[in-house]
């Protein structure tokens, strides 16, 4: 956990990793813009192979034959100081969603939990401005910030063994879309045909950190 004055903590993460944690008590958009700006400096530090942005943190993967953790740590802190904000524009992307009131999905149930009518829940979900905070866990999976706090719902106590590719989901204060069919504890509120990952493409992940997302209502099905 970072100290309160915003100075991140850096620690060793195994033989070839360093972990820079700038997280406070809750997710911060300004901190995330710095995280993404820092992640773009990959290649500027000798020996660094990958910078993996997380939610208000960065995993640095380096070749320990080329760089020592102590030196890297200093270089990272310098770059963090310079990484004022992410100047990269990011794209505006529309994701058409068919919302689902089917009982096998979770929309009706979590709308009731939130004390909202189903169409109000859908309206709030589709009107919010989201940003891809980072991509990870599974190939092409976007962690989206910007969910209306009224829609935040704790994850399921028991994860489902399989959510289908294209499922539009909510987990805690985050929104997401399933890039492939996989187990998940998030709640399903609809689905989209947008394909998020294709290993054969030059840029396999459709969404990139910093992209701005809107969900549009393509339909409501029961």
């Amino acid at each position: 956990m970072a100290s309160l004055d915003g100075v991140p903590r850096v620690c060793i993460a195994g033989s070839r990793g360093l972990f820079l944690d700038a997280a406070g008590p809750r997710f911060s958009e300004p901190v995330q813009r710095r995280v993404l700006a820092l992640a773009r400096t990959v290649g500027q530090i000798p020996g660094v192979q990958e910078l993996v942005p997380g939610m208000n943190n960065v995993l640095v993967v380096y070749d320990p034959r080329q760089a020592s953790p102590a030196v890297l740590c200093d270089q990272l802190m310098t770059l963090w100081e310079q990484a004022a904000a992410d100047e990269s524009p990011g794209r505006d992307i529309d994701i058409p969603v068919i919302y689902s009131t089917n009982a096998s999905d979770d929309l009706v149930q979590i709308a009731a939990l939130a004390g909202l009518a189903v169409d109000e829940f859908i309206r709030l979900h589709s009107e919010a401005a989201y940003q891809v905070a980072c991509v990870g866990a599974m190939p092409g999976f976007p962690y989206l910030s910007g969910l209306d706090p009224r829609l935040a719902t704790p994850r399921r106590a028991v994860p489902r063994m399989r959510l289908e590719q294209g499922a539009v989901i909510i987990g805690g204060a985050q929104a997401g879309i399933m890039p492939c069919s996989a187990p998940s504890g998030w709640h399903v509120i609809g689905r989209t045909d947008v394909q998020l990952f294709d290993a054969q493409q030059l840029s396999p992940s459709f969404l990139q950190p910093g992209d701005r997302i809107r969900f549009s209502i393509a339909g409501v099905e029961s």
Partner: protein, 319 residues
């Protein structure tokens, strides 16, 4: 070319792994025992990253459809070329029509079958490794099945004597605790001293829940001083997480690229192969090291592999 005659579906084509895509959620995959994989390629004079078959389910059988040179490394599974037993960590020539059979290992858990020239499958995102979780790379993005025919890479076939390797690292003994060296991780100090002591002094049993993604350990319950809610963060293979159950999970080659559980330690890269070779029910004991010690262990392995490569090259030159 080779044809798979019998296999489990979790046996797969693997190379040294896929690098550079963690930030879009693509894990590294690749051989679980990178040392055995590297040794197989070294014995054949292959490039270090050539793709091999990773065999974790036995018995395994394949037929050679052309004359070729191959190596079997890693777990000590009794291997037979037709009726002829082969020593462990061994490379030799095979003739078209011969059958190679590997029985369940006496020691270790994973065998690597490598071929001169490597297994020829398309590069996907810079690697021939199978990502079993997402279903791409390797042979058609899946584990091996009976009847699969795999093409071997180009290498002029040159009959040659059998060669073997003996290195200073040995497969884990069945009845002895396996020492695993770890570096403390980000949340190490969120555990109190008695809990840290438990972590290092207790033996940890490898549960049945073990695959290429990770392994769950059984032992005393580990708890952080206070409940922790962490934001999602990048993780690497070797990360030892402690979920609310208090039973640690070690993330492995096919791990998700991000996690959220507190991390007590990271297994050093030089010891990941020991995890890969531990059969279900093995006992681990964690030993704390610092980063220079982790590097020294790595350099030791690098040097031995380099020496093996050079020795093999000399023997090829003499032949």
């Amino acid at each position: 070319m080779i044809e798979i005659l019998s296999t489990g579906v979790l046996n797969s084509v693997q190379d040294a792994g896929r690098a550079g895509y963690l930030s879009i959620g693509v894990g590294q995959s690749g051989a679980m025992d990178v040392l055995a994989h590297a040794m197989g390629n070294a014995l054949l004079g292959n490039e270090a990253n050539a793709a091999s078959l990773e065999i974790a389910l036995f018995p395994f059988r394949l037929r050679l459809l052309s004359d070729c040179r191959f190596a079997i490394t890693g777990a000590d599974g009794e291997a037979l070329l037709d009726e002829q037993p082969l020593p462990p960590q061994w490379a030799c020539d095979g003739k078209a029509g011969q059958t190679l059979q590997i029985k369940p290992p006496r020691r270790g858990a994973r065998c690597y079958v490598s071929f001169a020239g490597g297994i020829e499958v398309p590069l996907v995102m810079g690697s021939r490794a199978t990502d079993l979780k997402t279903g791409f790379g390797g042979f058609e993005g899946r584990g091996l099945m009976r009847g699969d025919r795999l093409v071997l890479g180009n290498q002029t076939y040159k009959p040659h004597a059998g060669v073997g390797a003996t290195l200073s690292w040995a497969l884990p003994e069945r009845d002895r605790a396996i020492e695993i060296r770890v570096l403390p991780a980000a949340e190490f100090n969120e555990f109190d001293e008695p809990t840290k002591t438990l972590f290092f002094q207790q033996g940890w049993t490898l549960s049945q829940e073990a695959n290429r993604m990770g392994m769950r350990l059984i032992g005393p319950e580990l708890k952080t001083r206070r409940p922790l809610e962490l934001l999602s963060h990048g993780i690497l293979p070797g990360t030892v997480q402690v979920p609310p159950s208090g039973q640690p999970i070690i993330q492995l080659a096919d791990a998700n690229t991000c996690g959220g559980y507190p991390k007590i330690a990271n297994v050093i890269d030089a010891d990941l192969w020991r995890l890969a070779q531990a059969p279900i029910g093995s006992t681990f004991r964690f030993v704390e090291v610092d980063h220079p010690e982790a590097m020294a262990a790595q350099e030791h392995q690098d040097r031995e592999l380099m020496a093996l490569r050079q020795a093999i090259q000399c023997s090829f030159t003499r032949a």
